[in-house]
C-alpha cells in the first residue's frame, strides 16, 4: 500500500519562532491519522504546509504523490480541507455553497447537481440543501463543511480540529461520519484534535506533537502499551505502610504516598490486583477503596511531554473561536 503523505524534515519558522521543527511523517493510504498536541504545538502550521497554504522554510513533503512546493495546484485538487474556523458563506444556501466549491474545483457542470445531492446525503443534510447556512446549528455547519471538502473526490481529507466547540453528542456524530467515510470511500483522513479520548477512538495511528516536534508516533494501543503501566489509586488507613509492603513486588513500577492514598504505577494492573490486596491484608492495612485507571492517551501525552494536556489554558483566540461558534449556533 502506498503513502498518501510523506513529509521529510518539514520546518516552518516565523522569525525567531520555529513553529514546526523538522517533522518527518508518513501516512498510509486509507488511514485515519491523528495529529495530537496542545494549543500552539504547531499542528495547524504543519497542516497548512501540507495543504500548500504556507511554504515550508525547509524540508519537503508530498501529498497524494505531488510535491507541496512544486505542484501546489495538483495537491489542492487532490485534497479536501475542513478548516479550524468556520469558512462557509452564511448568506448562501447549503447547496449554493457546495455549487461554488464545485465550480472552483473544476467539477463539470453536468455532474455538479448529482454530486451535491450525494455529499449532502453522506452527512444527512439532504433536506436542508436549500436553506441558508445562517439557519444551521454548529454541528450542521461542520457537517456541511465536511461535505464540501468531499465534493471534488479528494484522496486525502484534512480536518483541523473538526469538533472544537461542539457539544459531546455532536462530536460523536462527526467522528461517526469520518469513520464511515473511510470505510465506504477508502479516503485518507488527517485530523488534528486536542481531545485525546476522541483521537484514541477514531485514529489508526497518531503522532503527538509538542513545541513543533513529533515526540511520539504509532498506533494508540502501541503508544499506551509502551507506557506499560496503569494507574492504581488505593485509599487506605496507612498508605506508607502499604507502600513498604508492596514495593519491590513484580510489576510495581512506581509508588507514591499522597494524602490518605497510595498512588501506584502497575503494569497489567488487573492481574496484579488480587496479589496487592492480599499483601495489604497481611500487612493489616484496611483498604477503603481502590481505583484502576488504564493508561490513556493523556498518560502517553504526559509521559512524552512532561505536561498534562488538560493543564493548557485555552488561548484567547480559542475561547473567542468557541464563543463565536456558540453564537453561530444560537441563531
Amino acid at each position: 500500500m502506498g503513502y498518501a503523505i510523506e513529509a521529510r524534515c518539514l520546518t516552518k519558522k516565523f522569525g525567531d519562532l520555529t513553529a514546526v521543527d523538522s517533522v518527518s511523517l508518513s501516512v498510509r493510504e486509507g488511514e485515519i491519522f491523528g495529529l495530537l498536541g496542545p494549543n500552539g504545538a504547531g499542528k495547524t502550521t504543519l497542516i497548512s504546509m501540507l495543504v500548500t497554504m504556507r511554504k515550508p522554510t525547509s524540508g519537503s513533503a508530498t501529498v497524494a504523490g505531488f510535491d507541496v512546493v512544486k505542484n501546489p495546484g495538483d495537491v489542492r485538487r487532490s485534497i479536501g480541507i475542513v478548516f479550524q474556523d468556520p469558512s462557509l458563506d452564511e448568506e448562501l444556501t447549503a447547496s449554493e455553497n457546495l455549487e461554488l466549491h464545485a465550480a472552483m474545483y473544476g467539477i463539470p457542470g453536468q455532474q455538479r447537481e448529482a454530486r451535491i445531492k450525494e455529499v449532502a446525503k453522506m452527512v444527512e443534510l439532504s433536506g436542508r440543501l436549500s436553506d441558508q447556512v445562517k439557519t444551521f446549528s454548529g454541528g450542521m455547519r461542520r457537517r456541511l463543511e465536511i461535505a464540501r471538502g468531499l465534493m471534488h473526490f479528494p484522496k486525502v481529507l484534512f480536518l483541523d480540529e473538526p469538533t472544537l466547540g461542539l457539544d459531546p453528542q455532536t462530536r460523536a456524530h462527526i467522528w461517526d461520519y469520518v469513520r464511515k467515510l473511510r470505510e465506504k470511500n477508502g479516503i485518507t483522513v488527517v485530523l488534528t484534535t486536542h481531545y485525546l479520548d476522541e483521537a484514541d477512538l477514531v485514529c489508526d495511528r497518531i503522532a503527538i506533537i509538542d513545541q513543533g516536534k513529533i515526540v511520539a508516533q504509532g498506533k494508540p494501543a502501541e503508544l499506551k502499551g509502551k507506557l506499560s503501566a496503569d494507574r492504581v489509586t488505593i485509599h487506605c488507613r496507612f498508605p506508607a505502610r502499604l507502600k513498604r509492603a508492596v514495593w519491590g513486588q513484580d510489576g510495581i513500577l512506581k509508588a507514591d504516598v499522597a494524602g490518605g492514598r497510595l498512588e501506584l504505577r502497575v503494569s497489567d494492573a488487573g492481574r496484579k490486583m488480587p496479589a496487592i490486596v492480599s499483601i495489604a491484608n497481611k500487612a493489616k492495612v484496611a483498604i477503603r477503596s481502590l481505583e484502576i485507571r488504564k493508561a490513556s492517551l493523556d498518560d502517553v501525552f504526559l509521559h512524552y511531554t512532561g505536561r498534562s494536556m488538560r493543564d493548557e489554558p485555552a488561548s484567547a483566540k480559542d475561547s473567542l473561536r468557541i464563543r463565536r461558534r456558540a453564537w453561530g449556533r444560537g441563531r
Binding site: 478548516f83 448562501l92 461554488l100
Partner: protein
C-alpha cells in the same frame, strides 16, 4: 480537465455569489440608496430656484443627476469590494484562497459581480431622478450602461485592493471617510467646476470621479464641460490601474 474554461466558470460563480448576496440583502439596497435619494430630492428640488444660474445651462436637478449617479456607482462598488474584509472576518475567504483557481479569476468575478449590482442601483437612482423630473434622455442607453459598468468595475477593484491590505472593518471606515467623501465632493457632482476656485479645480482634476461624472453627463443629459474622449481615457486608465492593483494585492494575501 484544467482549462481556461475552468477559470471562467469559477469567475462566473463568484459573480453569481455577489448577485445572490445582493438580492438577499434588501436592507442593504435600501440603505445605500437612501442618501443619494435625499441628495437628489433635497438638493435637486431645494436648490433648484436658488441656483438657476447661467453656468449650469439647465436645471440644477438635471445637472446633479449624473453626479449622484456617479456617487451611487462609486459607493456601491467600493462597498462590494469591501466584502473581502467581511469574507476574511467570517472565514469564507480561506475557502476561495485554497481553491485551485487563479486569484485573478476570483478578483475578476468579484469585480464584475460588484459592478453588476452597482449598475443596477445606478439604474434605480436614474429612475427616481426621472420621476422627480430630471431630463434623462441618453443618446445611447447601451453606451451609458457600458460606461456605468466600467466606472463601477474600477471602483470595485479599488475596494478589493484596499480591503486586501486591511485587517478589519475599522480601517475600512477610515478609508471611506478620507477617500470616498473627498472624491465625491471634489468631483464636480454638485457644482460646476468652472465656477470653483483654482485650488479646488486643480484637486478636482486629480480625482478620477470627476471624469466619471463628466462622462456620465455627456451620455445622460448631453451636456458636459469636458471632452468625452479625455474622460473615457482617464476612466480606462483608472480601471486598468485599480484592477491590476486589486489582483496584485489580492494575490499577496497570506492564507
Amino acid at each position: 480537465m484544467k482549462t481556461e474554461n475552468h477559470e471562467l466558470v469559477a469567475a462566473y460563480f463568484i459573480w453569481k455569489r455577489e448577485i445572490i448576496r445582493f438580492l438577499r440583502s434588501k436592507s442593504r439596497i435600501a440603505g445605500s440608496l437612501g442618501m443619494p435619494l435625499f441628495f437628489l430630492a433635497i438638493f435637486g428640488m431645494g436648490l433648484e430656484g436658488a441656483l438657476r444660474s447661467s453656468s449650469l445651462g439647465g436645471s440644477y436637478l438635471d445637472f446633479i443627476t449624473p453626479g449622484i449617479l456617479a456617487m451611487v456607482l462609486m459607493t456601491a462598488s467600493v462597498f462590494s469590494g469591501a466584502i473581502v474584509i467581511m469574507d476574511r472576518q467570517f472565514g469564507f475567504l480561506k475557502e476561495t484562497l485554497v481553491a485551485p483557481v487563479r486569484r485573478s479569476s476570483i478578483v475578476i468575478g468579484k469585480s464584475l459581480g460588484g459592478a453588476t449590482t452597482a449598475v443596477f442601483q445606478g439604474l434605480l437612482i436614474l429612475f427616481f431622478a426621472a420621476i422627480l423630473g430630471a431630463g434623462v434622455h441618453p443618446s445611447s442607453w447601451l453606451m451609458l450602461l457600458l460606461l456605468m459598468f466600467l466606472i463601477s468595475a474600477s471602483f470595485v477593484s479599488f475596494g478589493i485592493a484596499v480591503a486586501s491590505v486591511m485587517e478589519d472593518m475599522h480601517g475600512f471606515q477610515l478609508v471611506m471617510n478620507f477617500f470616498i467623501m473627498p472624491l465625491f465632493f471634489l468631483s464636480g457632482a454638485l457644482f460646476p467646476l468652472s465656477s470653483a476656485p483654482e485650488p479646488i479645480r486643480i484637486a478636482s482634476y486629480l480625482d478620477p470621479l470627476t471624469y466619471a461624472v463628466e462622462a456620465l453627463r455627456h451620455l445622460a443629459i448631453g451636456k458636459s464641460s469636458m471632452g468625452f474622449g479625455l474622460c473615457l481615457a482617464v476612466i480606462a486608465a483608472f480601471f486598468l490601474l485599480s484592477t491590476s492593483a486589486a489582483i496584485h494585492l489580492f494575490e499577496r494575501i497570506e492564507s
